[in-house]
C-alpha cells in the first residue's frame, strides 16, 4: 500500500495526488500540519525526510521524498502505458529538465504564495519577478509548441510527469500575486492539463470546460 504524507494546500503534495488519481492508484494519506503547525520540522517527520520537506511517500518498505523524484518513481513503476515517464534517454533528459523548471517555479511562484498567504518571510517582489521570468519562457515554448502541433511541455504526443510537475504552482500563481494574463499559451496549456482523464482538483485549482472530443 502507498502512503502519502500530505498537506492539503501544498502544490507539491498535489502533484502526487494528481498523478495517482490519473493512474487510478489507491493510496492512504497521513496529514502533516505544514501550516501553522510546522509539523514537517518535527522530530518524527525529520526521521522520514531529514530535509524537512513535503511530500514524503512510502511504498512498502521504501520511503521517498521530493515530488519530482516521486513522480518519476510512480510513473516508472505503476504506469503500464509507459507514457508518463517514457523509458527513452532523450525524453528522460527532457522530462528531468522540466522537473528542474518545476523546482524553480516552486522557488518563485510558491514562495510568493507562502509569503502572501502563509506568513513566510520571503522577498515577495523578487519571487514574483522570478516567476514571471519562467512563465515568459514557458509561454513562448508552449506557443511555438501549439504551432508545431505539440500540446505538452515535452516532445511526446502524450503528457508526461513534466506537465504534472510544473502545473500546480502555475495554477496557484495568482495566490502569490502573479497574474497569468500575459501568458495566453500557458493558460491554454493549463486547460489541457485540466482535461486529462482522471484529473482531480485542489483548493484554488478549478476544473476547465470540456475538450472538443469530449463535448
Amino acid at each position: 500500500m502507498i502512503t502519502l504524507y500530505d498537506f492539503e494546500l501544498s502544490g507539491n503534495c498535489y502533484k502526487l495526488r494528481l498523478l495517482m488519481s490519473i493512474l487510478n492508484l489507491p493510496y492512504e494519506i497521513v496529514p502533516v500540519d505544514f501550516f501553522p503547525g510546522r509539523e514537517h520540522k518535527s522530530d518524527w517527520f525529520l526521521r522520514l525526510n531529514p530535509f524537512g520537506q513535503l511530500p514524503v511517500l512510502q511504498d512498502g518498505d521504501l520511503t521517498l521524498s521530493d515530488s519530482g523524484a516521486i513522480l518519476a518513481y510512480l510513473a516508472s513503476k505503476y504506469d503500464g502505458s509507459g507514457l508518463w515517464f517514457p523509458n527513452d534517454p532523450a525524453i528522460i533528459a527532457e522530462v528531468l529538465r522540466w522537473h528542474a523548471v518545476a523546482d524553480d517555479i516552486t522557488a518563485t511562484s510558491s514562495a510568493a504564495r507562502l509569503a502572501l498567504g502563509y506568513d513566510y518571510p520571503f522577498d515577495i517582489e523578487k519571487s514574483q519577478k522570478g516567476a514571471h521570468r519562467i512563465f515568459r519562457i514557458m509561454d513562448e515554448h508552449l506557443w511555438f509548441g501549439e504551432k508545431q502541433g505539440r500540446d505538452w511541455l515535452c516532445t511526446p504526443a502524450h503528457p508526461t510527469t513534466a506537465d504534472i510537475a510544473c502545473f500546480p504552482y502555475v495554477m496557484l500563481s495568482e495566490e502569490g500575486g502573479i497574474s497569468r494574463q500575459d501568458y495566453p499559451a500557458l493558460r491554454r496549456w493549463t486547460d489541457r492539463v485540466r482535461r486529462i482523464p482522471g484529473f482531480t482538483v485542489m483548493s484554488g485549482i478549478f476544473p476547465a470546460g470540456k475538450a472538443l472530443e469530449q463535448a
Binding site: 511555438f144 494574463q181 500575459d182 495566453p184 491554454r188 478549478f206 476547465a208 470546460g209 463535448a215
Partner: protein, 569 residues
C-alpha cells in the same frame, strides 16, 4: 499624450487563435480586464471580467459552449447578450431576464480580435486591410508605456526606410504592421501582422519573435530607469439597477417589440415553425429554457408560444405552432396569413416554467406540440452535460417535429408513436418510477395528458414540487358568477369585483398596472400573493399544494370563495 479611459479607438486585444474551443481568454484594454470567449457558434464575446454576483473573474469560469458559467457560485451567462440564465441558489426560479453583464464592442478581422472601450466609433479597417491574407505574429507583452513601445517599434526601421506611424498606436515597418494594445499606463502588447502567410511559417515566426523579444528587453530596461506612470483606474460602474434587478412590475402586456418572420416552414405534419429575428440583425433578448413569448397577431389576438432555442442562441427565436383543422383564432391566423418577411409584435421572453439544473434525474415528457419548451430545456441540459431523458409522445411518425434538432442531442431521446391512452399511462408510470430525492419531471402537452401524468406521479409518491407542467390553454369553463371584495394591501385600495368581471379587469379599471399574458389561467404571468381569504382557483397553472395553501392565485380567472381577499398588490 496620456492614455484616456474613454479612448474610443478600436485596438486588437487577442489573436483569433487565442480563442480555441471552450477556452476563456483573459485580456485587458485601457485598464479594464476582459473575459473573452468564443461560443460554439463561433461568436466572440468580450465581457467585463467579473461576475455580477460576487465579482469573481469570469476568465476562470467554464465555457460551456453557449453559456459561460462562473466558477464561484455557478451563475450562467448567455452567449451574445451576457444575460444571466441560471442562478443555482434559486434553482426553482427563473432569474430576471434583465440581469446582464457589461459587454464591450467586438470584431474579429485580419486574424485578430478587436475591441474598444466604448461604442462611440464604428469599426473601420486600417488602410489597405482588405484583400490580404493577414498572418498574425506571436503577440509580445511589454511592461512599458504604450507610446514608448510605438516609438521603440519605429526605431526598428532602417534609416533609408523610416516607419510610418498610423492612427491608433500602430506602426508600419515595410510590409509588417504592428499594433500596440494599450493594456494599462505602463503595459502594452505588440501585435504584428504580415500581409500574407509566409512560406516557412516557423522560421518567420521565430525571426519576428526574436526581434520583438530584444525590443521588449530594451524597452523594459528603459522603463525601469524612469518613473512608471500610475496605472489607469477604471471605474467599475455599478450595473444599472434596471439591468441588475427584477423590474418592479413585470413587463405589462402591451410592451412589445417588432420582429421579422425570417422563415416559415412545415416542420412536421400538423406543425408549422416560425423563425423570428430582429429587423436589424441584432441579437434578441436573453431567455431561459421553458420561456414563452406573446405573439400579437394581425387580428388583434395575443397568443403564447414557447421558445425552442438552445442556450445563447439569440440571433432568432424559433417557435412551433400546431396546425389544427378545427383551429380557431390564434394559431389559424399565424398558420394561414402570416408570411415570411412579415413583421410581428412580440413580448420579451417570460419564463413561468423554469428548469432546475440541480436535479440528479430530469425527465422531460412531451405530448405533441408540447415538445417546444422541452426541446429548449433538453438543449440547455445537453450543453451543460447534465443528465436528462426526453420522451416525446406523438400520434404518428409524420407528426414528429424538430427531428434534426432532436437527433443532435446527446441525452436519451425516445419517441413514442401512436400509443393509446392507456398505453401512454403505463409507459409514463414505468418511466417515472417511484420518486427519489432530487428527481424532477417536466410535462407539456394536451390537458388530459398533463392531468394523467400528475395523477400517475402523485400515486408514485412524487411531491408536487418535483412535478412541473405547462398547459397550452385552460380548457375549464370559467365560472365568474361570484362577486366579492378585494383589498389591495400595498396600494391601499379596496375594490368590488362584480359577477362577470375578473379581478384583473377590476384592478386595471381602477388604474393599476398589473402584468398578464394568456388571461385564461394557463401561463402564470399574473401570479399574485394572497394574504387573507379563501381562493376559488380556476386556473391550470398552480399545482394542488399551491392551490390548497391559499397563498397565491391567478387573478385573470380565479375568484374568491370568501367575501373578501387581501392581495399583495
Amino acid at each position: 499624450m496620456p492614455l484616456s479611459l474613454s479612448d474610443p479607438t478600436w485596438y486588437p486585444i487577442a489573436s483569433s487563435e487565442d480563442l480555441p474551443f471552450r477556452h476563456v481568454y483573459q485580456g485587458q484594454l485601457l485598464g479594464r480586464e476582459l473575459a473573452v470567449w468564443r461560443a460554439d457558434d463561433g461568436n466572440v464575446n468580450i465581457w467585463e471580467n467579473r461576475c455580477l454576483h460576487r465579482g469573481v473573474r469570469l476568465s476562470i469560469g467554464i465555457n460551456e459552449g453557449q453559456e459561460l458559467k462562473c466558477q464561484y457560485h455557478g451563475w450562467r451567462y448567455a452567449n451574445r447578450s451576457a444575460g444571466c440564465t441560471y442562478i443555482p441558489a434559486h434553482p426553482a426560479d427563473a432569474p430576471a431576464r434583465r440581469i446582464e453583464n457589461r459587454k464591450y464592442p467586438v470584431r474579429e478581422a485580419f486574424g485578430l480580435i478587436w475591441s474598444a472601450a466604448n461604442d462611440e466609433r464604428p469599426f473601420t479597417p486600417f488602410d489597405g486591410a482588405e484583400g490580404k491574407d493577414w498572418f498574425a505574429l506571436r503577440p509580445m507583452p511589454v511592461n512599458a508605456e504604450p507610446e514608448d513601445v510605438v516609438a521603440g517599434l519605429a526605431r526598428l526601421a532602417p534609416d533609408d526606410q523610416p516607419a510610418d506611424l498610423l492612427p491608433g498606436l500602430a506602426v508600419q515597418l515595410g510590409a509588417v504592421l504592428y499594433f500596440v494594445q494599450p493594456i494599462d499606463a505602463a503595459r502594452a502588447v505588440i501585435r504584428g501582422l504580415l500581409p500574407e502567410r509566409p512560406s516557412d511559417e516557423m522560421t518567420t515566426l521565430r525571426h519576428y519573435n526574436e526581434v520583438l523579444t530584444k525590443l521588449r528587453d530594451r524597452l523594459e530596461r528603459a522603463a525601469a530607469r524612469k518613473e512608471a506612470p500610475a496605472p489607469l483606474t477604471p471605474l467599475y460602474e455599478k450595473v444599472s439597477a434596471d439591468l441588475a434587478t427584477m423590474p418592479d412590475i413585470a413587463i405589462p402586456r402591451g410592451n412589445t417589440f417588432n420582429v421579422v418572420v425570417r422563415r416559415k416552414w412545415q416542420n412536421a405534419d400538423g406543425v408549422i415553425s416560425f423563425e423570428l429575428a430582429d429587423r436589424d440583425g441584432k441579437h434578441l433578448p436573453t431567455f431561459q429554457p421553458g420561456a414563452h413569448i406573446d405573439v400579437h397577431l394581425p387580428n388583434g389576438l395575443v397568443r403564447q408560444y414557447s421558445l425552442t432555442n438552445g442556450p445563447g442562441d439569440l440571433m432568432s427565436y424559433v417557435i412551433g405552432v400546431k396546425q389544427e383543422s378545427a383551429s380557431k383564432g390564434g394559431s389559424k391566423v399565424l398558420v394561414e396569413s402570416v408570411r415570411e418577411g412579415d413583421v410581428l409584435a412580440i413580448s420579451e421572453p417570460r419564463n413561468n416554467f423554469p428548469l432546475r439544473r440541480d436535479a440528479t434525474r430530469t425527465l422531460l415528457i412531451a405530448g405533441g406540440i408540447g415538445i417546444t419548451p422541452l426541446l429548449s430545456m433538453a438543449r440547455f441540459l445537453d450543453k451543460s452535460s447534465l443528465p436528462y431523458e426526453l420522451h416525446y409522445f406523438v400520434r404518428a411518425g409524420e407528426n414528429v417535429a424538430f427531428k434534426s434538432e432532436l437527433e443532435v442531442l446527446h441525452g436519451r431521446v425516445d419517441t413514442h408513436i401512436g400509443l393509446a391512452r392507456e398505453a401512454i399511462r403505463e409507459k409514463v408510470n414505468a418511466l417515472l418510477g417511484p420518486y427519489q430525492f432530487a428527481n424532477h419531471v417536466y410535462i407539456c402537452g394536451p390537458g388530459a395528458m398533463l392531468e394523467m401524468v400528475q395523477e400517475v406521479a402523485a400515486a408514485l409518491g412524487w411531491p408536487d414540487d418535483a412535478v412541473h407542467f405547462e398547459y397550452f390553454q385552460n380548457d375549464k369553463v370559467i365560472d365568474s358568477s361570484s362577486s366579492f371584495d378585494i383589498e389591495l394591501a400595498r396600494s391601499a385600495m379596496t375594490l368590488h369585483v362584480p359577477a362577470g368581471k375578473t379581478i384583473l379587469e377590476t384592478m386595471r379599471e381602477a388604474g393599476l398596472t398589473v402584468p398578464s399574458s394568456c388571461e385564461q389561467g394557463a401561463c402564470g404571468t399574473c401570479l399574485t400573493t394572497v394574504m387573507e381569504g379563501e381562493v376559488d382557483h380556476q386556473d391550470v397553472y398552480l399545482n394542488k399544494t399551491e392551490k390548497a395553501s391559499h397563498t397565491c392565485m391567478m387573478t385573470c380567472v380565479s375568484r374568491a370563495k370568501s367575501g373578501r381577499l387581501v392581495l399583495d398588490i
